[in-house]
């Protein structure tokens, strides 16, 4: 179908290939005048030979008035010739309807679909992208907890309840390490009531010796009646698959976002026109939200104009001013680095202090939560100070936002890294496993009888504290703020205003939580499950606070590029936790007294031992894959594939740019041709009006051509003698 565009109206311009081509040959011609709303049909067009299944869809996509579409529909219905093909058509129509109904019903099953759409309608795309990200993390955590439960938790429960003990003989040589075997976390029978609560929140006592932590799992290898299950191997491989699964999910999601970013050129080009034409969200309802959206747009436009002004100003600075500006920026960056370094030092000290003390009771609880408190405080205070410093740096607004985000990400992820590094230092006596406290057991046995459980406890505490702080902030800060702002009309409250839902800090908080969970999953297998529940709580709490307490952000948010950025940060978090996983699996000696790996020199050693027990053909196959004969060609092949995909991307990008410039050229050509036709028409009309007698005697040959043209093109004038000679 060649659908003429609305403004090809004045002159019969050449057929442009329509963007919605189909197999229809229904021709639509616009009227001869500039009346574009009256589209006329060419009823004399040849009959259609289209595929019937495309008809319903194409009719919907026609930009005609409804009465005309219904007329077309009638015509199409009448043109159904044979009885059997009408049955085919009916069948395909019913199938289409069924698909539509099925899609509609399935949309009910997508988790929180309606809620998120409502949020998008009231608060815009940025806030909506936060909730979409939260939903993605909930599903990821839920699936991972199912994975861990199926392969590690349930077999352990089953084997424990069937009272299978470790059926392998201790053939390992315990020269001098017998003292390392003592590990007795079982709580005393008589306990004061509040210690239950303390144990619950700090992961000690009755919580320590439970399925929650690594220490409770046995190294049972069951072999009976042809059924064999190796718990240590299952534990390790489940952890590895869990990481791989998360990586694949993230990459798939990033791929979708990246494609959009590449196609739309990052959204940075064409800022003003896109803002004016696509900035208004027509789905917004309500007086207040509309006014806010208008303020928002005005603010964005003013910010963009301000950026231009700043750019012009920056380009016009003298050399002296530029040098002083850069010197100021370097100095302020140093100040920011010192601040962040101070935060790291504080975290390291707090961790060391809390690990080395052993007080009980409420003070002990506070001490145990000291690292979490310092991390949360620094995550709150340092970005605030950095924002104030950024005001002095005089960057353009968009650069300021990006810089603030980068600093916040750096602070959060590296502070977690500092905590883990401090723990490692303590556990392995700064890496020297054969000196001092780490002498007999290759780890600091006196303090860490079961070091994996301790690390798991730290991660558990971080998760709980994060949850606690969020809920407390909600109750103690956001609700009172709203109540005060709404009921007290003094100037201070109006200046402070209602809470704004800032997307970036919230998303970074989610990334931080998820990184903590990934780091702790090896040592605390139930942590993904706890995190699922925590994130579900977050969803409902954030939704409530959004609708009750918040106003839409005045500063807006480029959602597409930001989505990609947040997934990238999540990927960095994943890489940090995978470093921790790889290091603890391969380098640190597992505890002698607890856990599934207690007899191995490193957790990794389970795998070679299991491989040794395979049949010889599978062993050969595995060795072959791992050997150089196979892995090097595989590596080269994957490099070639990577290069190919890269080249394909750049070719596509170049062809998009080429097509765009071609579009431009075609438009210019069309204009040129239109002008030419107009000029030609004007000259023809002038020639037609001039008296023809004086021209006849002089140039007879030349006159036959215009007269011949006239004779052929225009209505034949019977009064004019067609043959002048």
């Amino acid at each position: 179908m060649e659908l003429r565009e609305f403004n090809n109206q004045v002159h019969p311009s050449p057929d442009y290939p329509s963007p919605y081509s189909s197999q229809h040959s229904l021709r639509l011609r616009t009227g001869p005048t500039q009346d574009t709303s009256a589209v006329q049909f060419d009823w004399s067009s040849p009959p259609e030979d289209a595929e019937d299944s495309n008809e319903p869809q194409n009719l919907r996509e026609l930009p005609l008035h409804m009465s005309l579409k219904r007329a077309v529909w009638q015509v199409q219905k009448m043109k159904v010739p044979v009885v059997s093909s009408s049955w085919n058509i009916k069948r395909s129509k019913t199938f289409h309807r069924f698909c539509e109904v099925a899609k509609y019903i399935l949309s009910y099953f997508v988790l929180w679909n309606r809620g998120i759409q409502r949020i998008g309608g009231h608060f815009g795309g940025g806030v909506r992208s936060y909730f979409l990200f939260l939903r993605f993390l909930v599903i990821l955590n839920f699936l991972s907890s199912l994975l861990i439960a199926a392969f590690v938790l349930i077999p352990s429960i089953v084997f424990r309840s069937m009272k299978f003990n470790s059926t392998i003989a201790l053939t390992v040589n315990l020269n001098g390490t017998e003292s390392c075997l003592h590990y007795d976390p079982k709580p005393d029978a008589l306990m004061v009531f509040y210690t239950y609560f303390l144990d619950l929140v700090s992961g000690t006592g009755f919580m320590e010796y439970s399925y929650l932590f690594y220490g409770y799992y046995n190294n049972s290898k069951i072999e009976s009646n042809g059924f064999s299950y190796n718990i240590p191997l299952a534990y390790l491989l489940t952890a590895a698959f869990y990481f791989l699964f998360c990586l694949i999910c993230m990459i798939i999601r990033m791929g979708g976002t990246a494609r959009l970013v590449v196609v739309t050129g990052g959204g940075a080009v064409g800022g003003y026109s896109m803002l004016v034409f696509t900035g208004w969200d027509h789905g917004l309802q309500g007086d207040r939200t509309t006014k806010l959206k208008q303020n928002n747009l005005r603010h964005r436009l003013q910010v963009d104009l301000e950026e231009e002004r700043l750019k012009k100003k920056a380009a016009s600075l003298t050399l002296g001013q530029t040098v002083s500006l850069y010197a100021l920026r370097v100095f302020l960056n140093l100040v920011v680095l010192i601040l962040i370094g101070a935060a790291f030092y504080g975290i390291a000290e707090a961790t060391q202090f809390s690990q080395s003390r052993k007080t009980t009771g409420f003070v002990g609880l506070l001490l145990q939560y000291l690292p979490s408190m310092v991390i949360t405080a620094s995550n709150f205070v340092v970005p605030l100070l950095c924002d104030k410093i950024a005001l002095l740096e005089k960057y353009s607004p968009s650069t300021t936002v990006i810089l603030a985000l980068l600093r916040a990400v750096f602070l959060r992820l590296v502070s977690l890294g500092v905590l883990l590094y401090t723990l490692w230092e303590q556990i392995t006596c700064k890496g020297e496993i054969n000196s001092g406290n780490c002498e007999p057991c290759s780890y600091y046995y006196d303090q860490y009888k079961c070091w994996e459980t301790r690390v798991g406890q730290e991660m558990y505490k971080l998760t709980l504290f994060d949850f606690l702080i969020t809920i407390t902030t909600l109750i103690l800060v956001e609700f009172p703020r709203r109540i005060v702002v709404d009921h007290c009309s003094c100037k201070l409250t109006q200046w402070v205003g209602r809470q704004e839902f800032l997307v970036a800090p919230n998303v970074l908080a989610l990334v931080y939580s998820q990184t903590v969970v990934w780091t702790g999953a090896l040592f605390c297998p139930l942590l993904p499950f706890i995190n699922t529940i925590k994130f579900i709580f977050f969803f409902y709490c954030k939704k409530i606070t959004l609708f009750q307490n918040c106003q839409p952000a005045t500063r807006n948010f480029r959602s597409t590029t930001s989505n990609f950025f947040f997934l990238l940060v999540l990927l960095f978090g994943w890489m940090l936790s995978s470093v921790v996983l790889l290091y603890s699996v391969s380098k640190i000696h597992p505890s002698y007294g607890c856990g599934p790996f207690r007899i191995y020199p490193a957790m990794w050693e389970v795998v070679p031992e299991a491989v040794k027990m395979l049949s010889s053909s599978s062993k050969e196959f595995l060795f072959y894959i791992g050997s150089q004969k196979c892995s090097i060609p595989l590596f080269i092949f994957s490099c070639v594939l990577l290069c190919y995909v890269n080249v394909l991307t750049s070719v596509h990008g170049k062809s998009v740019a080429l097509l765009r410039s071609q579009c431009k050229l075609e438009q210019r050509d069309k204009q040129f041709l239109v002008r030419q036709i107009e000029e030609l028409n004007a000259t023809m009309q002038n020639l037609h009006r001039e008296p023809q007698q004086p021209l006849r005697e002089t140039e007879p040959f030349y006159h036959t051509s215009p007269q011949w043209n006239q004779y052929n093109n225009y209505a034949f004038d019977p009064n004019e003698d067609p043959n002048p000679y």
């Binding site: 696509t278 208004w280 204009q671």
Partner: protein, 187 residues
Amino acid sequence: MGNKQTIFTDEQLDAYQDCTFFTRKEILRLHGRYHELAPHLVPMDYTNDPDVKVPLALIVNMPELKENPFRNRIVESFSEDGQGNLSFNDFVDMFSVLSEMAPRELKAIYAFKIYDFNVDNYICKEDLEKTLNRLTKEELTPEEVVLVCEKAIEEADLDGDNKLSFADFENMISRAPDFLSTFHIRI
């Protein structure tokens, strides 16, 4: 499902289902909304296709459109007479194009119609200025308005005639990732 409704014939409902992105239920619900706008004007029985048009003033009072700065232009672009009086056909058509299932090309055509205030098939500077004023509640200074309009035309105009034809508009829209989600009214 067995509910015998007497508002439309089956053939009419089939036609509406094939010509719009709505299902049977949604079309009946839309009829209910249309009837609510002018209960004395709109008959409940549409089986013989009555020629009834609800005037613009009543349509722009719908909660979905009430606060939209472009409500008059939206209704005018979908009306057959160009004055904003919608028959039920036009009403359904309007919400079908504005629904989330309509493709990008179709929405771009109607968006262009909406932003073209003087209906000359080009978005010229005056059209842009009117759009901008409605977007920002007229709170930008006149210099800022002129500046933004100049920049917008500069960015999107491909053929250099200082106004945006449909091809320019569509080219610019194709690079906007949020267009589909913002040009969407849920009913």
